[in-house]
């Protein structure tokens, strides 16, 4: 999953030195537009929905926080179905 997130981020900017715990907002990798791009790509590639109320800083701090958030969403979705 972290590989997929990194792949999407690399479509936004060069991410050669980005690690799983790199702070994406502080580094300027993510901004208001690129977050929407990331969400769109995650939704499309993983066939999932990310509710607007989940678009908060904690879920998008770093690759590892994005992965954790996405996996939780997917697991919650499976549990509900």
């Amino acid at each position: 999953m972290s590989k997929l997130v990194l792949e999407i981020l690399s479509e936004i900017q060069d991410c050669d030195d980005v690690k799983n715990d790199t702070l994406l907002l502080e580094r300027g990798i993510l901004d208001s537009l690129s977050i929407i791009y990331l969400i769109n790509e995650l939704e499309e590639r993983l066939n999932m929905t990310i509710p607007l109320e989940d678009v908060v800083e904690d879920n998008f701090k770093s690759i590892e926080s994005i992965v954790e958030f996405v996996l939780t969403r997917i697991n919650d979705g499976l549990a509900e179905s």
Binding site: I12, L25, E26, S32, L33, L52, V56
Partner: protein, 432 residues
Amino acid sequence: MEGTKNFAWPVTAVSKEDFDVVRSCVASSGNLFRDKKIMIFGAGIRGSLISVILEAEGFTNILFTDNNPDKWGGCIDNHPIVPPEAAISMRGETVIVISTEEGDPIKAQLEKAGLVEGVDFLFPKTDLYDKFAGEFERKAENGILAMGDCMFEVVSFHDVNKQSLAEMIFERLGNENIKLLTMHGMGMRSFYHILKAQSAMGMRPGIFVVMINFETLTDKQHLLPRSQHSKLMRRLSDIVKGVDGGELSEYACITEQRVKNVQAEFFTTNKQKSAPYTNSTGDISIKAARLFFKLHYMYKLDPNTENLEYLAKVFEFAQAEGFHVIPFVPPVNYELGESLFGEAFQAAYRRNFKIVDDLTKKYNCDLLDLSHLCTKELFSGSFTPDETTNCEGRQKIADKITREIERVRNGCIKREQIGFGDIERNTRLRRC
């Protein structure tokens, strides 16, 4: 400035309003700009814009300052960014130009440091909301109302003729016959509530021209607080004074709430250290062009998204009130899209376009499809990822829109369409 971080934004186009305000600021400031270095306060998008306008006017001795310490030591193209303390200490050598639209706190900061407006600093202010509110109140009955985004107001830096699309349309149709309510990032839900408010105020249009911008149809649109224009909505609802049954006021509350929500821009503002959208020459990068294309045109449009529901409401309202709607899709830089994504671009765009086209057909309305009206050289820059065109492009758009209005007004049964499926012939006639 090799080795320093460039915070420049890719600037190929500017709102006509901004362009005029900065130029008139230069003209009315005597020799201030000639005799001193220019220090632009605010190393962001509008700061980049102002520096490009000033350079075009022949001023090259430019520096930047910003309250964000992350930007100190960086540059905007070849112009260094220094801390505000350094900028203030250069009093007498420089004239400071406040670049941010919400620049009152900066003005207070400079005054607190003893600097004087008109002598040490200038504040070229554009108030798009004033202009919008004025147009909203302007009396027009049974005329034409057109709504859309900043496409109507933006001109290319490369243009010799900087007449905006709005000015071209006014010129063709006559100011007294058409109202233009346009605002950057504004979406269909806003258009709908404003249209209804206009009708409630006794200004129901005979023809409603509405821009359908794919960028604003995404269900993520209100993640961007700048698309909500809550202050404008509140101001308009104050003008309406409830004659619309309080509908616009309720909508203003919704936009205020959306802006308050902790959404994307909320937690990214002021943290961003660099603008990732430029290449080494200050132009939009290919990566950025790809990102914008995917965001604007290639996302998966949900037929149930809010702005499409409101497009349907526009059609229903028009049918109930008995006026014509001319929905139009603006030009897309399709040649760039194809070069960046190949056939995937066409496939994604067609898929989204069909959803909009189907909806308009459902209400027996035809879409004025300008998707393929402009080839790449008619856009404001070679990597322009949106509908911003140069003067020649705007002339073509103005011609198409005004011709369509004339035909509807004259009860004509045929019209020209330019769009998908028409690329080779470029035109076709279609029965309304």
